[in-house]
Symmetry: C2
Subunit: 478 residues, 2 copies
């Protein structure tokens, strides 16, 4: 911990990399664009996985696993899909010492291989709905990468569902968007906007893409999860028809939805500070760090008391006892702050004398003392308070940085002057207008919020002055 | 369930494939050698993962994630490693539309990429031991594949640990072998032999390979998990040295250990029968299937009682209520048998009249009736009995099929006459003798049991007649 973390005010991008490397969440690998997720980073991902997986299962989904390698011809079966993904593919040309007859691509996403299987499995409406999720690695060749946020290989989950009717598929799309919103807000303490993407920002092969969008501390937006209504596009590309209740044949309706290790990056950039990581309690691999404070002369007095408290706390919390004798208390405080552990418990000779412990909360740095026999009870409520405070703090930050400029000059000044944040403005719905904004400011439409068309009625596009069709949320994004 | 499962006596190999496909555990994919793990098969893998992962964490390991793609040159750094894996590699030559400067291989195992990172992370004895596990997909180009047992891509875990001393690394190797043995026997109800592999059967790059070996119902052996003592081979290949407690520089000592989706195949082939899958309770995604038996006239009487019992049982067991009205009770019995659910609960009008339910156990087919208010208690003990019985039955089978032939003629007759099983015999330790046995019988040495050298003293090799160095366990294997 002698090494300094670049302050956010100095260079946000360097700050982020410092946190990731110094908290040992991830590391650069010898393979360009691929990262190594170190144990502390992977523990965060495991908690994210567990939370999401429970929610997927509670909404009727089961997990399965499909091949990593996909025949190149499959990617070409859906016109928009190939256009979107072809430039990002990694291609296996040789296997077992021989050149392959048909090259195989490493999955950038699994719609094509999965729908080739759904063709075998779906014959009748009785086989529907089919609600499958996959936890897997995927690979998209990226020119510019950033740890967790954009890497050539990443870990994710991808849900792929098949339905009898358009209505059911649309309901599923929105149900899973709501799962992502709930997870982001209740587990990650990360407030998100929800809505639909414009044509230019949607998934290659989707009819509609919905997303959750969050505002990072540098006031740039991050897309943290997407849910796609795929219509009958993939069913048609792979000729997946089913016998309906009326004995007719119809193409199956589809959705897909995904969230990735990018969430770890979002977590870091939403809450952490210049002292290191801050992890919301519900996702914290360690909720409590217990640090006995002693020298050799009072070790025999302090350590047994600390161990007794540790044994009590571990029945309820994910707690670590740091009784290492090589490092000073000050070094340990800084280390556990760097790691983002929500609550630190300090227990020294004077605390023991007074029958108390000191609790320090990571989010605010505040300290308090409580009687040792009430420590567990107080920690329980403190963890809830921290979880809530992190969410409220992030929401207040987002609200402070959500703007409603009245003119296009005000709008461009926001992004070109460095204020950034979300800009919520009327838009004429024209892709050309959207493209012009991007040229002028680098900002893009993150979402069109639900119900935005009604709100747009009677308003004028902030760019073109034409009648507005939507209220759009613009931001510069990761 | 109208479809017939090939009886084991008719064709064991067809029986196995029938179980896998008809119980919907897996399916063939359009990619040669790769399989699709369907939800029911994946649920088994999830239970296996959970069980093993808990044991890894209880022994001090954490999970991490390393890149899928490895620079081809890395594989060449350890001489035996490249010799073993080069023929099985899949090679990525193009990415993002361009030819790569150096080809990348898809990991067949991760020693090389991981040790290239350990070089960055290990400087001092204070950084040791490093106890990391990875859950991942790997790929080995295979000419002949079998669902779950041998597939080009498979899912596994691979532990990679780094230690200060040879002794610690050797202890770790055996600790993890014992984790595998415990898991196989206590969770999978699959008795295993443990021991060391011969030079010809060991992992490419290891000093010693230890394995758990199980006997399948066709009396062929299956290697179900391996633990390798790697010595300083990979530390030397990647130049990973650490400062010792004595301030000298030394190469790090290493282990690696793995178990894969092959375990699902082992589970099937150890316990299942001609009616379908049999899953040991501890790994059963569904422990209890509750089947109400009713016609339209008594539906209103039976269903609410069944639902009440379901609500009671689900607080304690993984239970499914099959109240579908389209299928007959007989169809449902066969279906839940096919799926291998350990206990079936039947509840019909007469049961209700008598205040009882009927319990059927999957392992023996035995039925019994119990008062409904004692059902949960009886199911609890029944699940334990089934777990135990499956293990005992498999162990008895193994003992019946473990042979101690006195002459080489008896030995070859075992394997060439189709009896197969394990043959435990003195061996002179000569690779040429081992090779001759393979030529004569297709049998290989599965393990040299612990302490075998002492037992071999004074005995003669069954093949050469020379003084025996080992007692070896031979079998034909998967």
């Amino acid at each position: 911990m002698a090494e300094r973390i670049t302050p956010r005010s100095e260079n946000y991008s360097d700050w982020y990399v410092d946190i990731v490397l110094k908290a040992q969440l991830a590391d650069y690998s010898p393979v360009k664009g691929s990262m190594v997720i170190r144990p502390r980073g992977y523990a965060l991902w495991e908690h994210i996985q567990r939370g999401l997986d429970d929610m997927f299962k509670a909404t009727g989904h089961t997990n399965a696993y499909f091949p990593l390698l996909i025949p190149e011809s499959f990617i070409h079966k859906e016109a928009e899909h190939v256009e979107g993904f072809a430039p990002e593919l990694a291609v296996v040309t040789h296997g077992g010492g021989e050149k392959l007859e048909e090259p195989l691509v490493i999955r950038p996403t699994s719609e094509t291989i999965i729908w080739s299987m759904y063709k075998k499995w779906i014959q009748s409406y009785r086989d529907l709905p089919l609600l499958i999720n996959q936890w897997a690695n995927v690979l998209r060749w990226e020119k510019r990468t950033r740890l967790f946020l954009r890497t050539t290989e990443f870990l994710w989950q991808e849900g792929h569902t098949a339905h009898e009717t358009e209505r059911e598929a649309r309901e599923e799309t929105l149900r899973m968007l709501e799962v992502y919103r709930t997870f982001a807000e209740d587990y990650m303490a990360m407030p998100v906007l929800t809505g639909v993407k414009t044509e230019s920002e949607k998934f290659a092969g989707a009819i509609n893409t919905y997303a959750i969008e969050s505002l990072m501390q540098d006031r740039r937006a991050l897309q943290a999860g997407t849910s796609h209504f795929l219509g009958q596009n993939f069913a048609k590309a792979f000729d997946v028809q089913f016998q309906t209740r009326e004995s007719t044949l119809e193409h199956v309706w589809a959705t897909s939805w995904g969230a990735s290790t990018r969430l770890v990056g979002a977590l870091i950039m939403t809450h952490s500070d210049d002292n290191g990581l801050i992890v919301p309690p519900r996702l914290a691999p360690t909720e409590v760090a217990l640090i006995p404070i002693f020298r050799s002369k009072n070790k025999a007095e302090v350590l047994p008391r600390a161990r007794a408290l540790y044994d009590e706390l571990r029945t309820e919390f994910r707690v670590e006892l740091d009784d290492d004798e090589n490092n000073s208390p000050g070094w340990k405080f800084a280390e556990w702050e760097l790691r983002g552990v929500p609550v630190r418990v300090e227990m020294g000779p004077r605390d023991i004398e007074n029958g108390q412990v000191t609790l320090a909360r990571r989010d605010t740095g505040e300290k308090e003392t409580v009687p040792t026999d009430q420590a567990a009870e107080r920690i329980r409520t403190l963890l809830q308070e921290i979880q809530k405070n992190l969410f409220e703090r992030a929401r207040a930050f987002r609200e402070e940085n959500t703007h409603y400029p009245a003119t296009y000059d005000e709008f461009t000044a926001l992004f070109n002057g460095g204020a950034n944040g979300f800009a919520v403005v009327p838009w004429d719905g024209d892709p050309a207008t959207e493209a012009q904004v991007k040229t002028d400011t680098k900002a893009t439409i993150r979402v069109l919020p639900f119900g935005n068309e009604d709100e747009a009625a009677g308003k004028q596009c902030i760019v073109s002055g034409k009648p507005a069709k939507h209220i759009a949320v613009f931001a510069k994004s990761y």
